[in-house]
Symmetry: C2
DNA sequence: CGGGTCGTTGACTCGAATCAATATAGGTGG
DNA sequence: CCACCTATATTGATTCGAGTCAACGACCCG
């Protein structure tokens, strides 16, 4: 038995959960999942709504945001195409997921997903691995917030976005995804919320990166990486870069 | 079949992974696990050593630390008694786990653990749930690092320590674990590494909390929470507390 | 009791926040 | 299609919290 046609043409299949399991399990999964389109700004799951569903992100970007009673917000993670969206066995935390852009999701109800999970232990195993790597991601995010300068934060974010957007846009080009005209899935405000900064600070850092010829911007929601290597340098160690720029 | 005697007297059993599964699974697990004692400072797992093992923390505190080539360190998580220690299916990240204090672990080899995992899907399910809650923890840690003042950071850390240490020291006392003489598992330097601050800043904030009568300290490695409610207030919203203090 | 590590406090600096004033993009209606 | 209008973005001036540098003090070890 082979996988369904709609799956075999799916752009994220190889990288997503459903590409890591046997055709058998993938079939069972495909039977309960369906494509949906979600407009930007929609809350996918959060403190309020409980009909928890699960999805694989096909296109677009999801932001994971923690909001405190006093209004402070922090984006604690971004999800890109091929990522798994949902909170299995959620305990109702303060975390919510929002569409940063228009999304295409391949999704199903929590109940249906948990049934397949029970029938195919290999799926549970794959999910567990993904959670471990999400956990690594969350901890690296914490490092970024705790131990880096504004310069490094902005450079890191742009690097991650360039990396993951390029991967999902031009598949096959593993070399240098430069000069592509990447679309920026976040506003300046949202970038600030990602990085624990104010939007003015994000602006200033972007201006600096532009004046150094590392990136360029076109309008509000597009940018180019002119020098991928330099951007990575900025992300890893802003001070060293500043030294050699003197 | 009942669980082994050494498990039935184990202080963390009810809260740990092994208390969330059937006696059958718990038995299988107990057969491959054994108690070990680890001195403070020992690296449990990290970038170097690969013989990955898994453990349940019985006593002591483990710190999870990310170290970058340039020497910057950030503690991205703490683990307390009953927590699961280990990285299933690790992909060799920059994360390492270190004993912050002397530890008692109930541990086994990665191979043995994965065998039991295969035989008892319920164990895998329990592990998955624990990872999801770890993920929540890591994201809340990110919020703390990104969106709070030094005051809130220090208060939050002391609150978490007081909460979890009290829970493991005086079991049964669910009311107000105040005035207990809690042992502080971290040095000032380590506290700073947790919070993305400098140790001088941690000192100053501790001094402030003392002068406001929220906590008191005895020597270097012990403290008391004099007003648990106030400490929680400081953690949640330092500014409001400052306002009413004027 | 002496030495060294760790913790505390003080004086000063600096990076990011804040407050404020434009500027530009992008959508809307004429 | 163009002119306007509002959001969003950018830049500048200033403030403030935390970092840095330095000295001192306290605890804990032998």
């Amino acid at each position: 038995m082979t996988i369904p046609a709609r799956c075999s043409t799916c752009p994220v299949r190889s990288a997503a959960l459903c590409g890591k399991i046997s055709d058998d399990a993938a079939n069972a999964l495909s039977r309960v999942m369906h494509r949906v389109r979600i407009p930007a700004g929609r809350v996918i799951y959060g403190a309020v709504e409980q009909p928890n569903s699960f999805a694989i992100l096909v296109s677009g970007v999801v932001k994971l945001v923690i909001t405190k009673p006093d209004g402070r917000q922090q984006i604690v993670g971004l999800q890109f195409p091929s990522d798994f969206v949902g909170r299995p066995f959620a305990d109702g935390s303060t975390l919510s997921a929002e569409a940063a852009t228009t999304l295409e999701l391949c999704c199903c109800s929590g109940r249906a997903f948990e049934n397949v999970l029970r029938d195919y232990p290999e799926l549970e195993r794959a999910l567990l691995k993904r959670l471990v790597s999400d956990l690594d991601g969350a901890r690296n995010w914490a490092f970024l917030l705790g131990r880096t300068t504004a310069q490094e934060k902005v450079a890191s974010l742009l690097y991650v976005i360039a990396d993951r957007m390029a991967r999902s846009v031009v598949r096959g080009c593993q070399e240098r995804p430069c000069a592509l005209g990447l679309s920026l899935p976040l506003s300046r405000m949202e970038m600030a919320e990602c990085l624990g900064l104010r939007l003015e600070t994000v602006c200033r850092q972007i201006t600096q990166l532009k004046s150094r010829g590392v990136i360029s911007t076109m309008g509000r929601r597009a940018f180019d990486v002119l020098d991928m290597h330099e951007l990575k340098q900025c992300a890893a160690n802003a001070t060293a870069v500043l030294d050699e720029a003197v």
